[in-house]
Protein backbone atom coordinates (compact mmCIF):
# COMPACT_ATOMS: atom_id res chain seq x y z
CA UNK A 1 0.00 0.00 0.00
CA UNK A 2 1.29 3.40 -0.88
CA UNK A 3 1.83 5.75 1.99
CA UNK A 4 2.13 9.38 0.91
CA UNK A 5 3.52 11.98 3.30
CA UNK A 6 4.46 15.62 2.93
CA UNK A 7 8.15 15.88 3.65
CA UNK A 8 10.94 18.45 3.54
CA UNK A 9 14.29 17.56 1.96
CA UNK A 10 16.18 17.79 5.24
CA UNK A 11 13.47 15.75 6.92
CA UNK A 12 13.86 13.07 4.26
CA UNK A 13 17.57 12.87 5.04
CA UNK A 14 16.86 12.50 8.76
CA UNK A 15 14.13 9.89 8.21
CA UNK A 16 16.25 8.05 5.65
CA UNK A 17 19.10 7.92 8.19
CA UNK A 18 16.80 6.38 10.79
CA UNK A 19 15.54 3.84 8.26
CA UNK A 20 19.16 2.98 7.44
CA UNK A 21 19.86 2.30 11.11
CA UNK A 22 21.79 5.40 12.18
CA UNK A 23 22.71 5.12 15.86
CA UNK A 24 24.77 8.25 16.35
CA UNK A 25 24.64 11.80 15.13
CA UNK A 26 26.84 14.70 16.15
CA UNK A 27 26.29 18.07 14.59
CA UNK A 28 26.65 21.81 14.81
CA UNK A 29 23.88 24.16 13.71
CA UNK A 30 24.25 25.59 10.23
CA UNK A 31 21.71 26.80 7.71
CA UNK A 32 20.38 25.22 5.50
CA UNK A 33 20.94 21.79 7.07
CA UNK A 34 19.92 22.29 10.69
CA UNK A 35 16.55 20.53 10.52
CA UNK A 36 18.41 17.23 10.18
CA UNK A 37 20.08 17.51 13.58
CA UNK A 38 16.90 18.89 15.15
CA UNK A 39 14.91 15.87 13.99
CA UNK A 40 17.60 13.39 14.99
CA UNK A 41 17.99 15.09 18.40
CA UNK A 42 14.34 14.29 19.01
CA UNK A 43 14.08 10.87 17.40
CA UNK A 44 17.43 9.10 17.83
CA UNK A 45 17.01 8.14 21.50
CA UNK A 46 13.82 6.28 20.57
CA UNK A 47 15.66 4.39 17.85
CA UNK A 48 18.45 3.12 20.07
CA UNK A 49 20.79 5.98 19.22
CA UNK A 50 22.22 9.12 20.71
CA UNK A 51 22.62 12.67 19.43
CA UNK A 52 25.00 15.35 20.62
CA UNK A 53 25.46 18.94 19.58
CA UNK A 54 29.19 19.55 19.51
CA UNK A 55 31.15 22.79 19.90
CA UNK A 56 32.02 23.01 16.20
CA UNK A 57 32.11 20.99 13.00
CA UNK A 58 35.59 19.63 13.67
CA UNK A 59 34.32 18.05 16.87
CA UNK A 60 31.11 16.87 15.17
CA UNK A 61 32.77 14.82 12.45
CA UNK A 62 35.41 13.63 14.95
CA UNK A 63 32.74 12.28 17.31
CA UNK A 64 30.99 10.63 14.37
CA UNK A 65 34.18 8.79 13.39
CA UNK A 66 34.70 7.79 17.05
CA UNK A 67 31.19 6.33 17.18
CA UNK A 68 31.90 4.45 13.97
CA UNK A 69 35.03 2.95 15.58
CA UNK A 70 32.72 1.71 18.32
CA UNK A 71 30.66 0.00 15.62
CA UNK A 72 27.71 2.34 15.21
CA UNK A 73 26.25 3.76 12.02
CA UNK A 74 27.01 7.43 12.39
CA UNK A 75 26.33 10.65 10.52
CA UNK A 76 26.57 14.40 10.63
CA UNK A 77 24.79 17.17 8.76
CA UNK A 78 26.29 20.45 7.68
CA UNK A 79 26.63 23.06 4.94
CA UNK A 80 29.53 24.65 3.04
CA UNK A 81 31.51 26.42 5.80
CA UNK A 82 31.04 23.47 8.16
CA UNK A 83 31.89 21.04 5.39
CA UNK A 84 35.17 22.91 4.89
CA UNK A 85 35.97 22.56 8.60
CA UNK A 86 35.33 18.83 8.46
CA UNK A 87 37.71 18.09 5.63
CA UNK A 88 40.76 16.99 7.62
CA UNK A 89 38.69 14.45 9.53
CA UNK A 90 36.86 13.21 6.44
CA UNK A 91 40.29 12.46 5.00
CA UNK A 92 41.09 10.65 8.24
CA UNK A 93 37.97 8.47 7.94
CA UNK A 94 38.94 7.64 4.36
CA UNK A 95 42.48 6.81 5.48
CA UNK A 96 41.54 4.57 8.42
CA UNK A 97 38.55 3.16 6.47
CA UNK A 98 35.80 3.84 8.97
CA UNK A 99 32.35 4.35 7.45
CA UNK A 100 30.63 7.68 8.07
CA UNK A 101 27.88 9.60 6.30
CA UNK A 102 28.15 13.36 5.86
CA UNK A 103 25.19 15.33 4.64
CA UNK A 104 26.07 18.66 3.02
CA UNK A 105 23.22 21.00 2.10
CA UNK A 106 25.18 23.21 -0.30
CA UNK A 107 24.66 26.94 0.00
CA UNK A 108 25.99 29.97 -1.81
CA UNK A 109 29.75 30.28 -1.43
CA UNK A 110 32.57 31.02 -1.18
CA UNK A 111 33.17 31.78 2.51
CA UNK A 112 30.05 32.65 4.47
CA UNK A 113 28.42 33.23 1.10
CA UNK A 114 24.67 33.04 1.56
CA UNK A 115 23.13 30.70 4.12
CA UNK A 116 19.62 30.62 2.71
CA UNK A 117 20.42 30.29 -0.96
CA UNK A 118 21.54 27.35 -3.10
CA UNK A 119 24.70 26.61 -5.06
CA UNK A 120 26.16 23.35 -6.31
CA UNK A 121 29.73 24.40 -5.76
CA UNK A 122 31.02 21.86 -3.22
CA UNK A 123 31.37 19.06 -5.73
CA UNK A 124 35.14 19.28 -6.02
CA UNK A 125 35.47 19.80 -2.27
CA UNK A 126 33.51 16.61 -1.66
CA UNK A 127 36.26 14.62 -3.33
CA UNK A 128 39.35 16.79 -2.99
CA UNK A 129 38.73 18.86 0.15
CA UNK A 130 41.35 17.23 2.32
CA UNK A 131 45.07 16.87 1.82
CA UNK A 132 46.48 13.79 0.19
CA UNK A 133 44.81 11.26 -2.11
CA UNK A 134 41.89 9.45 -0.55
CA UNK A 135 38.59 7.92 -1.65
CA UNK A 136 35.05 9.25 -1.32
CA UNK A 137 31.63 8.30 -2.53
CA UNK A 138 29.21 11.20 -3.07
CA UNK A 139 25.54 11.01 -4.01
CA UNK A 140 23.37 13.83 -5.36
CA UNK A 141 19.64 13.19 -4.99
CA UNK A 142 17.29 15.09 -7.29
CA UNK A 143 14.06 15.18 -5.27
CA UNK A 144 12.80 14.84 -1.71
CA UNK A 145 11.86 11.22 -2.34
CA UNK A 146 15.31 10.51 -3.71
CA UNK A 147 16.82 12.23 -0.67
CA UNK A 148 15.14 9.58 1.47
CA UNK A 149 16.23 6.62 -0.65
CA UNK A 150 19.74 7.75 -1.39
CA UNK A 151 20.37 8.56 2.27
CA UNK A 152 19.72 4.89 2.97
CA UNK A 153 21.97 4.02 0.04
CA UNK A 154 24.68 6.31 1.44
CA UNK A 155 24.76 4.32 4.70
CA UNK A 156 24.74 1.02 2.79
CA UNK A 157 27.67 2.08 0.62
CA UNK A 158 29.62 3.42 3.61
CA UNK A 159 29.28 0.20 5.59
CA UNK A 160 29.87 -2.03 2.60
CA UNK A 161 33.00 -0.29 1.34
CA UNK A 162 34.31 1.23 4.60
CA UNK A 163 34.51 4.72 3.19
CA UNK A 164 33.07 8.17 3.94
CA UNK A 165 29.93 8.80 1.89
CA UNK A 166 28.74 12.34 1.26
CA UNK A 167 25.17 13.28 0.43
CA UNK A 168 25.28 16.49 -1.58
CA UNK A 169 22.04 18.40 -1.72
CA UNK A 170 21.49 22.13 -1.89
CA UNK A 171 19.42 24.72 -0.07
CA UNK A 172 16.65 24.46 -2.63
CA UNK A 173 16.15 20.74 -2.18
CA UNK A 174 16.93 20.86 1.56
CA UNK A 175 14.04 23.22 2.22
CA UNK A 176 11.66 21.99 -0.48
CA UNK A 177 8.54 20.21 0.68
CA UNK A 178 6.82 17.65 -1.47
CA UNK A 179 4.58 14.65 -1.16
CA UNK A 180 6.63 11.49 -1.19
CA UNK A 181 5.83 7.81 -1.27
CA UNK A 182 7.24 6.29 1.91
CA UNK A 183 8.34 2.74 1.37
CA UNK A 184 7.75 -0.27 3.53
CA UNK A 185 11.07 -0.07 5.36
CA UNK A 186 11.09 -3.79 6.01
CA UNK A 187 11.53 -4.30 2.28
CA UNK A 188 14.51 -1.96 1.89
CA UNK A 189 17.90 -3.59 1.87
CA UNK A 190 19.92 -2.43 4.86
CA UNK A 191 23.60 -3.30 4.78
CA UNK A 192 25.61 -3.95 7.94
CA UNK A 193 29.38 -3.88 8.30
CA UNK A 194 31.15 -7.19 7.82
CA UNK A 195 31.58 -9.13 11.03
CA UNK A 196 33.54 -12.14 9.79
CA UNK A 197 36.93 -11.04 11.10
CA UNK A 198 39.52 -13.72 11.79
CA UNK A 199 39.93 -14.70 15.45
CA UNK A 200 42.05 -12.22 17.46
CA UNK A 201 45.18 -14.39 17.33
CA UNK A 202 45.21 -14.27 13.50
CA UNK A 203 43.61 -10.87 13.03
CA UNK A 204 45.27 -7.80 11.51
CA UNK A 205 42.99 -4.84 10.84
CA UNK A 206 44.38 -3.94 7.42
CA UNK A 207 45.34 -7.38 6.19
CA UNK A 208 42.91 -7.41 3.33
CA UNK A 209 41.24 -10.39 1.74
CA UNK A 210 40.19 -10.61 -1.92
CA UNK A 211 37.44 -8.04 -1.35
CA UNK A 212 40.00 -5.19 -0.93
CA UNK A 213 37.87 -3.97 2.00
CA UNK A 214 39.08 -4.25 5.61
CA UNK A 215 37.02 -5.72 8.44
CA UNK A 216 37.21 -3.49 11.52
CA UNK A 217 35.34 -5.05 14.45
CA UNK A 218 33.78 -2.55 16.90
CA UNK A 219 35.88 -1.45 19.87
CA UNK A 220 34.83 -3.35 22.96
CA UNK A 221 34.97 -6.82 21.44
CA UNK A 222 37.82 -9.31 21.48
CA UNK A 223 39.85 -7.60 18.78
CA UNK A 224 42.34 -5.07 20.10
CA UNK A 225 43.98 -3.08 17.36
CA UNK A 226 45.27 0.37 16.56
CA UNK A 227 43.51 2.79 14.24
CA UNK A 228 45.86 5.48 12.98
CA UNK A 229 45.81 8.28 10.45
CA UNK A 230 49.52 7.72 9.93
CA UNK A 231 50.56 5.49 7.07
CA UNK A 232 50.14 2.04 8.54
CA UNK A 233 50.92 -1.53 7.64
CA UNK A 234 48.53 -4.45 7.79
CA UNK A 235 48.81 -4.46 11.59
CA UNK A 236 47.56 -0.85 11.85
CA UNK A 237 50.88 0.30 13.32
CA UNK A 238 52.57 3.33 11.71
CA UNK A 239 55.27 2.42 9.21
CA UNK A 240 56.91 4.92 6.88
CA UNK A 241 58.87 2.53 4.72
CA UNK A 242 58.37 3.36 1.01
CA UNK A 243 56.82 -0.06 0.35
CA UNK A 244 54.21 0.41 3.05
CA UNK A 245 53.46 3.98 1.95
CA UNK A 246 52.99 2.80 -1.61
CA UNK A 247 50.77 -0.15 -0.63
CA UNK A 248 48.64 1.91 1.78
CA UNK A 249 48.04 4.88 -0.54
CA UNK A 250 47.41 2.73 -3.61
CA UNK A 251 45.00 0.35 -1.94
CA UNK A 252 42.72 2.92 -0.33
CA UNK A 253 42.56 4.83 -3.60
CA UNK A 254 41.80 1.84 -5.80
CA UNK A 255 39.64 -0.30 -3.52
CA UNK A 256 36.39 1.02 -4.99
CA UNK A 257 37.35 0.28 -8.59
CA UNK A 258 36.10 -3.27 -8.69
CA UNK A 259 32.76 -2.13 -7.24
CA UNK A 260 32.24 0.65 -9.80
CA UNK A 261 29.03 -0.87 -11.17
CA UNK A 262 27.54 -1.27 -7.71
CA UNK A 263 28.43 2.28 -6.68
CA UNK A 264 27.54 4.23 -9.81
CA UNK A 265 23.92 5.28 -10.07
CA UNK A 266 23.34 7.10 -13.34
CA UNK A 267 20.03 8.11 -14.82
CA UNK A 268 20.17 7.84 -18.64
CA UNK A 269 17.63 6.48 -21.06
CA UNK A 270 18.84 7.17 -24.61
CA UNK A 271 16.18 8.40 -27.00
CA UNK A 272 16.15 7.68 -30.70
CA UNK A 273 17.39 10.56 -32.74
CA UNK A 274 18.77 12.64 -29.88
CA UNK A 275 21.96 14.43 -30.93
CA UNK A 276 22.02 16.61 -27.87
CA UNK A 277 22.08 15.82 -24.16
CA UNK A 278 21.86 17.81 -20.96
CA UNK A 279 24.12 16.78 -18.09
CA UNK A 280 22.37 17.95 -14.92
CA UNK A 281 22.01 16.79 -11.33
CA UNK A 282 20.45 17.58 -7.95
CA UNK A 283 17.87 20.31 -7.98
CA UNK A 284 18.75 21.09 -11.60
CA UNK A 285 17.26 17.72 -12.62
CA UNK A 286 13.68 18.95 -12.85
CA UNK A 287 14.35 22.12 -14.86
CA UNK A 288 16.45 19.97 -17.20
CA UNK A 289 13.57 17.53 -17.61
CA UNK A 290 11.17 20.45 -18.21
CA UNK A 291 13.43 21.88 -20.90
CA UNK A 292 13.81 18.48 -22.54
CA UNK A 293 10.03 17.92 -22.58
CA UNK A 294 9.47 21.30 -24.18
CA UNK A 295 12.13 20.63 -26.80
CA UNK A 296 10.61 17.23 -27.59
CA UNK A 297 7.16 18.77 -28.03
CA UNK A 298 8.81 21.15 -30.50
CA UNK A 299 10.34 18.26 -32.41
CA UNK A 300 13.85 18.25 -30.90
CA UNK A 301 14.99 15.05 -29.20
CA UNK A 302 17.27 15.64 -26.18
CA UNK A 303 18.71 13.12 -23.73
CA UNK A 304 19.17 13.61 -20.00
CA UNK A 305 22.43 12.47 -18.47
CA UNK A 306 21.98 12.57 -14.72
CA UNK A 307 24.58 11.38 -12.26
CA UNK A 308 23.26 10.42 -8.84
CA UNK A 309 26.66 9.09 -7.90
CA UNK A 310 28.95 12.04 -8.61
CA UNK A 311 32.02 10.46 -6.91
CA UNK A 312 33.42 8.24 -8.24
CA UNK A 313 32.67 10.26 -11.37
CA UNK A 314 30.58 8.23 -13.85
CA UNK A 315 33.12 8.36 -16.67
CA UNK A 316 32.08 5.14 -18.38
CA UNK A 317 28.45 6.22 -18.64
CA UNK A 318 29.45 9.56 -20.13
CA UNK A 319 31.80 7.97 -22.59
CA UNK A 320 28.97 5.70 -23.71
CA UNK A 321 26.55 8.62 -24.10
CA UNK A 322 29.14 10.61 -26.05
CA UNK A 323 29.29 7.84 -28.66
CA UNK A 324 25.71 8.73 -29.47
CA UNK A 325 25.20 12.45 -29.00
CA UNK A 326 27.15 15.28 -30.63
CA UNK A 327 26.76 17.86 -27.92
CA UNK A 328 26.45 17.78 -24.13
CA UNK A 329 25.23 20.83 -22.25
CA UNK A 330 26.59 20.74 -18.69
CA UNK A 331 24.22 22.72 -16.48
CA UNK A 332 25.33 23.44 -12.95
CA UNK A 333 24.92 26.07 -10.27
CA UNK A 334 28.60 26.88 -9.96
CA UNK A 335 31.40 28.34 -12.08
CA UNK A 336 31.99 25.02 -13.85
CA UNK A 337 33.02 22.22 -11.50
CA UNK A 338 31.86 19.12 -13.38
CA UNK A 339 32.30 20.47 -16.91
CA UNK A 340 36.00 19.62 -16.89
CA UNK A 341 35.26 16.12 -15.66
CA UNK A 342 32.72 15.64 -18.46
CA UNK A 343 35.26 16.82 -21.05
CA UNK A 344 37.84 14.44 -19.62
CA UNK A 345 35.35 11.56 -19.74
CA UNK A 346 34.11 12.09 -23.31
CA UNK A 347 37.62 12.64 -24.68
CA UNK A 348 36.45 14.83 -27.55
CA UNK A 349 33.71 12.45 -28.72
CA UNK A 350 31.13 15.15 -28.12
CA UNK A 351 31.24 18.92 -27.88
CA UNK A 352 30.82 19.99 -24.26
CA UNK A 353 28.90 23.22 -23.66
CA UNK A 354 29.15 24.97 -20.35
CA UNK A 355 26.05 26.40 -18.66
CA UNK A 356 26.65 28.00 -15.29
CA UNK A 357 24.45 30.01 -13.01
CA UNK A 358 25.67 31.47 -9.74
CA UNK A 359 23.12 34.19 -8.89
CA UNK A 360 21.41 31.75 -6.46
CA UNK A 361 18.23 31.53 -8.53
CA UNK A 362 17.68 27.99 -9.68
CA UNK A 363 18.38 27.15 -13.30
CA UNK A 364 15.04 27.50 -15.06
CA UNK A 365 13.67 25.17 -17.72
CA UNK A 366 13.14 28.22 -19.97
CA UNK A 367 16.79 29.17 -20.01
CA UNK A 368 17.84 25.57 -20.54
CA UNK A 369 15.29 25.25 -23.35
CA UNK A 370 16.75 28.34 -24.94
CA UNK A 371 20.25 26.85 -24.69
CA UNK A 372 19.01 23.64 -26.27
CA UNK A 373 17.50 25.51 -29.21
CA UNK A 374 20.65 27.63 -29.65
CA UNK A 375 22.71 24.46 -29.93
CA UNK A 376 20.30 22.43 -32.02
Amino acid sequence: MKDFVLMQGNQAVAEGSLAAGVKFCAGYPITPSTEVIEILAEKLPHHGGRFIQMEDELASIAAVIGASAAGKKAMTATSGPGFSLMQENIGYAAMVELPVVIYNAQRVGPSTGGATKPHQADIMQAKWGSHGDSPRIALIPGSVEEAYYFTIEAFNLAEKYMVPVIILMDELLAHMRESINLPDTSKIEIVERRKDALPPCDYQPYKIDETDIPILPPFGGEHRYNISGMIHGEDGIPDLSPDTIDACVRRINTKLEKYYNDIIIFDYEPKNGADLAIFAFGSTTRPAKGAINKAISNGVEVDLLRPITIWPFPEKELKKAAEKVDKIIVAEMNMGQTVGLVKQAVEGRAEVIQFNKVDSNHISSEELYKTIMENN
Binding site: K23, P45, L58
Partner: protein, 273 residues
Protein backbone atom coordinates in the same frame (compact mmCIF):
# COMPACT_ATOMS: atom_id res chain seq x y z
CA UNK B 1 58.35 -10.73 32.27
CA UNK B 2 56.75 -8.13 34.48
CA UNK B 3 53.04 -8.14 35.15
CA UNK B 4 52.74 -4.84 33.33
CA UNK B 5 54.25 -6.28 30.16
CA UNK B 6 50.87 -7.79 29.34
CA UNK B 7 49.64 -4.25 28.67
CA UNK B 8 52.38 -3.55 26.14
CA UNK B 9 52.82 -4.30 22.47
CA UNK B 10 56.27 -5.65 23.13
CA UNK B 11 56.93 -6.24 19.45
CA UNK B 12 56.92 -2.46 19.02
CA UNK B 13 59.75 -1.93 21.49
CA UNK B 14 62.07 -0.12 21.82
CA UNK B 15 59.84 2.92 21.91
CA UNK B 16 60.70 6.17 20.20
CA UNK B 17 61.13 8.66 23.05
CA UNK B 18 64.44 10.46 23.57
CA UNK B 19 66.91 9.45 26.26
CA UNK B 20 65.93 11.24 29.47
CA UNK B 21 62.30 11.75 28.42
CA UNK B 22 59.87 11.14 31.28
CA UNK B 23 56.79 10.22 29.26
CA UNK B 24 57.63 6.61 30.12
CA UNK B 25 57.07 7.32 33.82
CA UNK B 26 53.70 8.87 32.98
CA UNK B 27 52.70 5.86 30.86
CA UNK B 28 53.80 3.41 33.52
CA UNK B 29 51.81 5.24 36.19
CA UNK B 30 48.75 5.08 33.98
CA UNK B 31 49.18 1.37 33.22
CA UNK B 32 49.65 0.63 36.92
CA UNK B 33 46.46 2.53 37.70
CA UNK B 34 44.54 0.56 35.07
CA UNK B 35 46.04 -2.68 36.40
CA UNK B 36 45.02 -1.80 39.96
CA UNK B 37 41.48 -1.22 38.74
CA UNK B 38 41.41 -4.64 37.06
CA UNK B 39 39.96 -3.22 33.88
CA UNK B 40 39.19 -5.55 31.01
CA UNK B 41 41.66 -4.61 28.27
CA UNK B 42 39.01 -5.21 25.61
CA UNK B 43 36.73 -2.67 27.27
CA UNK B 44 39.36 0.02 27.76
CA UNK B 45 39.81 2.30 24.79
CA UNK B 46 42.88 4.49 24.47
CA UNK B 47 42.41 7.66 22.45
CA UNK B 48 45.41 9.78 21.49
CA UNK B 49 46.26 12.24 18.77
CA UNK B 50 49.52 13.76 17.64
CA UNK B 51 52.88 14.63 19.14
CA UNK B 52 55.15 12.68 21.47
CA UNK B 53 52.25 11.93 23.85
CA UNK B 54 50.02 10.97 20.94
CA UNK B 55 52.30 8.14 19.93
CA UNK B 56 51.48 6.18 23.08
CA UNK B 57 48.85 3.73 21.75
CA UNK B 58 51.36 2.17 19.40
CA UNK B 59 52.97 0.61 22.46
CA UNK B 60 49.87 -0.29 24.48
CA UNK B 61 47.74 -3.36 23.93
CA UNK B 62 44.31 -1.74 24.09
CA UNK B 63 41.79 -0.96 21.40
CA UNK B 64 43.26 2.36 20.38
CA UNK B 65 42.67 5.22 18.02
CA UNK B 66 45.15 7.93 17.04
CA UNK B 67 43.20 10.88 15.76
CA UNK B 68 44.05 14.09 13.93
CA UNK B 69 45.86 16.69 16.03
CA UNK B 70 43.72 18.14 18.81
CA UNK B 71 40.62 16.03 18.24
CA UNK B 72 41.23 13.14 20.63
CA UNK B 73 38.55 14.28 23.08
CA UNK B 74 35.96 14.60 20.31
CA UNK B 75 36.68 11.10 19.01
CA UNK B 76 36.50 9.87 22.61
CA UNK B 77 33.10 11.54 22.96
CA UNK B 78 31.81 9.56 19.99
CA UNK B 79 33.25 6.29 21.29
CA UNK B 80 31.71 6.80 24.73
CA UNK B 81 28.27 7.82 23.47
CA UNK B 82 28.24 4.89 21.05
CA UNK B 83 29.13 2.45 23.81
CA UNK B 84 29.00 3.86 27.38
CA UNK B 85 30.20 0.52 28.79
CA UNK B 86 33.71 1.25 27.53
CA UNK B 87 36.32 2.88 29.73
CA UNK B 88 37.62 5.72 27.62
CA UNK B 89 41.00 7.22 28.43
CA UNK B 90 42.45 10.09 26.43
CA UNK B 91 46.19 10.73 26.67
CA UNK B 92 47.37 14.04 25.26
CA UNK B 93 50.30 16.40 25.31
CA UNK B 94 49.83 19.99 26.43
CA UNK B 95 49.96 21.42 22.90
CA UNK B 96 47.44 18.86 21.70
CA UNK B 97 45.05 19.37 24.62
CA UNK B 98 45.40 23.07 25.33
CA UNK B 99 46.26 24.72 21.99
CA UNK B 100 44.84 23.02 18.91
CA UNK B 101 42.36 21.00 20.99
CA UNK B 102 41.58 23.71 23.53
CA UNK B 103 38.00 24.22 22.45
CA UNK B 104 37.27 20.51 22.78
CA UNK B 105 38.92 20.44 26.20
CA UNK B 106 36.62 23.19 27.44
CA UNK B 107 33.45 21.60 26.12
CA UNK B 108 34.24 18.00 27.01
CA UNK B 109 34.89 19.15 30.58
CA UNK B 110 31.64 21.14 30.54
CA UNK B 111 29.53 18.14 29.49
CA UNK B 112 30.77 15.93 32.33
CA UNK B 113 30.93 12.91 30.04
CA UNK B 114 32.50 9.97 31.90
CA UNK B 115 35.91 9.93 30.26
CA UNK B 116 39.38 10.64 31.62
CA UNK B 117 41.72 13.12 30.03
CA UNK B 118 45.38 12.78 30.93
CA UNK B 119 47.48 15.76 29.90
CA UNK B 120 51.25 15.44 29.89
CA UNK B 121 52.56 18.98 30.36
CA UNK B 122 56.19 19.53 29.42
CA UNK B 123 55.86 23.16 28.25
CA UNK B 124 57.12 22.38 24.76
CA UNK B 125 56.31 20.85 21.37
CA UNK B 126 58.83 18.01 21.37
CA UNK B 127 57.95 16.15 18.20
CA UNK B 128 58.27 19.20 15.95
CA UNK B 129 61.47 20.44 17.53
CA UNK B 130 60.88 22.63 20.57
CA UNK B 131 58.28 25.26 19.79
CA UNK B 132 56.42 26.98 22.63
CA UNK B 133 53.08 25.73 23.96
CA UNK B 134 50.26 27.57 25.76
CA UNK B 135 51.73 26.04 28.93
CA UNK B 136 55.24 27.41 28.40
CA UNK B 137 56.25 29.62 31.33
CA UNK B 138 56.84 33.32 30.82
CA UNK B 139 60.41 34.06 29.84
CA UNK B 140 61.18 30.45 28.94
CA UNK B 141 62.95 29.78 25.67
CA UNK B 142 61.69 27.75 22.76
CA UNK B 143 62.63 27.51 19.09
CA UNK B 144 59.76 29.88 18.28
CA UNK B 145 60.43 31.96 21.37
CA UNK B 146 64.11 32.74 20.81
CA UNK B 147 63.76 35.96 22.86
CA UNK B 148 61.75 34.29 25.61
CA UNK B 149 58.05 33.44 25.96
CA UNK B 150 55.90 36.56 25.71
CA UNK B 151 52.44 35.07 26.28
CA UNK B 152 50.79 34.20 29.58
CA UNK B 153 51.15 30.62 30.74
CA UNK B 154 47.95 28.60 30.67
CA UNK B 155 46.88 26.65 33.75
CA UNK B 156 45.10 23.65 32.23
CA UNK B 157 43.57 22.63 35.57
CA UNK B 158 42.05 26.06 36.17
CA UNK B 159 40.75 26.13 32.61
CA UNK B 160 38.76 22.92 32.99
CA UNK B 161 37.61 23.94 36.45
CA UNK B 162 36.03 27.00 34.91
CA UNK B 163 34.53 24.84 32.21
CA UNK B 164 32.84 22.51 34.69
CA UNK B 165 35.06 19.43 35.12
CA UNK B 166 34.09 17.38 38.18
CA UNK B 167 37.50 15.85 38.93
CA UNK B 168 40.84 17.61 38.53
CA UNK B 169 44.19 16.40 39.75
CA UNK B 170 47.82 17.23 39.12
CA UNK B 171 50.80 14.98 39.57
CA UNK B 172 54.34 14.83 38.31
CA UNK B 173 56.92 12.32 37.19
CA UNK B 174 59.05 12.75 40.32
CA UNK B 175 56.27 11.63 42.67
CA UNK B 176 55.25 8.59 40.62
CA UNK B 177 53.54 6.62 43.38
CA UNK B 178 51.31 9.57 44.15
CA UNK B 179 50.77 10.01 40.40
CA UNK B 180 49.46 6.47 39.99
CA UNK B 181 46.92 7.04 42.76
CA UNK B 182 45.77 10.30 41.20
CA UNK B 183 45.25 8.64 37.82
CA UNK B 184 43.44 5.76 39.49
CA UNK B 185 41.07 8.12 41.23
CA UNK B 186 40.60 10.12 38.05
CA UNK B 187 39.67 7.05 36.02
CA UNK B 188 37.37 5.80 38.79
CA UNK B 189 35.55 9.11 38.98
CA UNK B 190 32.09 9.12 37.42
CA UNK B 191 32.08 12.10 35.07
CA UNK B 192 34.78 14.06 33.29
CA UNK B 193 38.14 13.80 34.99
CA UNK B 194 41.38 15.50 34.10
CA UNK B 195 44.78 14.53 35.41
CA UNK B 196 47.61 16.83 34.49
CA UNK B 197 51.04 15.21 34.65
CA UNK B 198 54.05 17.47 34.76
CA UNK B 199 56.63 15.76 32.57
CA UNK B 200 60.01 16.82 31.26
CA UNK B 201 61.65 17.22 27.88
CA UNK B 202 65.43 17.47 28.15
CA UNK B 203 65.95 17.40 24.40
CA UNK B 204 63.98 20.52 23.57
CA UNK B 205 62.97 22.27 26.78
CA UNK B 206 65.87 21.54 29.11
CA UNK B 207 68.48 22.25 26.48
CA UNK B 208 67.11 25.74 25.83
CA UNK B 209 66.44 26.57 29.46
CA UNK B 210 69.69 25.80 31.28
CA UNK B 211 68.63 22.35 32.45
CA UNK B 212 70.54 20.11 30.13
CA UNK B 213 70.70 17.10 32.42
CA UNK B 214 67.48 15.06 32.43
CA UNK B 215 67.80 14.58 36.17
CA UNK B 216 67.94 18.35 36.70
CA UNK B 217 64.52 18.73 35.15
CA UNK B 218 63.05 16.00 37.34
CA UNK B 219 64.72 17.42 40.46
CA UNK B 220 63.25 20.76 39.52
CA UNK B 221 59.75 19.22 39.68
CA UNK B 222 60.50 18.05 43.19
CA UNK B 223 61.40 21.59 44.26
CA UNK B 224 58.71 23.31 42.24
CA UNK B 225 55.69 21.35 43.42
CA UNK B 226 53.99 21.13 46.79
CA UNK B 227 51.02 19.11 47.97
CA UNK B 228 47.68 20.70 48.57
CA UNK B 229 48.19 20.15 52.30
CA UNK B 230 51.55 21.94 52.26
CA UNK B 231 49.98 24.76 50.32
CA UNK B 232 47.35 25.30 53.00
CA UNK B 233 50.10 26.28 55.42
CA UNK B 234 51.76 28.79 53.13
CA UNK B 235 51.04 32.43 52.46
CA UNK B 236 49.59 33.30 49.06
CA UNK B 237 52.82 34.97 48.06
CA UNK B 238 54.85 31.81 48.69
CA UNK B 239 52.31 29.59 46.93
CA UNK B 240 52.57 31.73 43.82
CA UNK B 241 56.00 30.37 43.09
CA UNK B 242 54.89 26.77 43.53
CA UNK B 243 52.73 24.33 41.63
CA UNK B 244 50.17 22.44 43.68
CA UNK B 245 49.91 18.66 43.37
CA UNK B 246 47.10 16.34 44.36
CA UNK B 247 43.37 16.29 43.84
CA UNK B 248 42.49 19.90 43.12
CA UNK B 249 38.76 19.40 42.70
CA UNK B 250 36.35 16.53 43.18
CA UNK B 251 32.59 16.79 43.13
CA UNK B 252 29.63 14.64 42.22
CA UNK B 253 27.39 15.84 39.44
CA UNK B 254 25.08 13.90 37.12
CA UNK B 255 27.08 12.27 34.34
CA UNK B 256 26.22 13.11 30.71
CA UNK B 257 25.08 9.73 29.37
CA UNK B 258 23.06 8.94 32.51
CA UNK B 259 21.28 12.26 32.21
CA UNK B 260 20.85 11.90 28.45
CA UNK B 261 19.31 8.45 28.73
CA UNK B 262 17.01 9.52 31.56
CA UNK B 263 15.79 12.75 29.95
CA UNK B 264 15.32 11.35 26.47
CA UNK B 265 13.85 8.00 27.51
CA UNK B 266 16.67 6.35 25.55
CA UNK B 267 15.94 2.75 24.63
CA UNK B 268 18.45 0.29 23.23
CA UNK B 269 17.22 -1.16 19.97
CA UNK B 270 14.80 -3.96 20.65
CA UNK B 271 13.73 -2.31 23.91
CA UNK B 272 10.28 -0.84 24.41
CA UNK B 273 9.58 2.17 22.28
Amino acid sequence: MSKLDSYLRLDQMPHFTCPGCTHGAAWKSMIKAIDDLNFDKNKTVMVCAIGCAGRLPVYLDFPSIRTPHGRALSYATGVKLANPELNVIVFMGDGDAAAIGGNHLIHTARRNLDITAIVATNEIYGMTGGQYAPTTGEGRFASTAPYGMIENQMDVCKLVEGAGATFIARGDVYHVKELKDLIKQGISHKGFSLVEILTTCPTHFGRRNNMKKPSELVENLKDLTITKKQAEKLTEEKINNKIIRGILLQKQKPEYVETYDRLTGFQEEGGEK
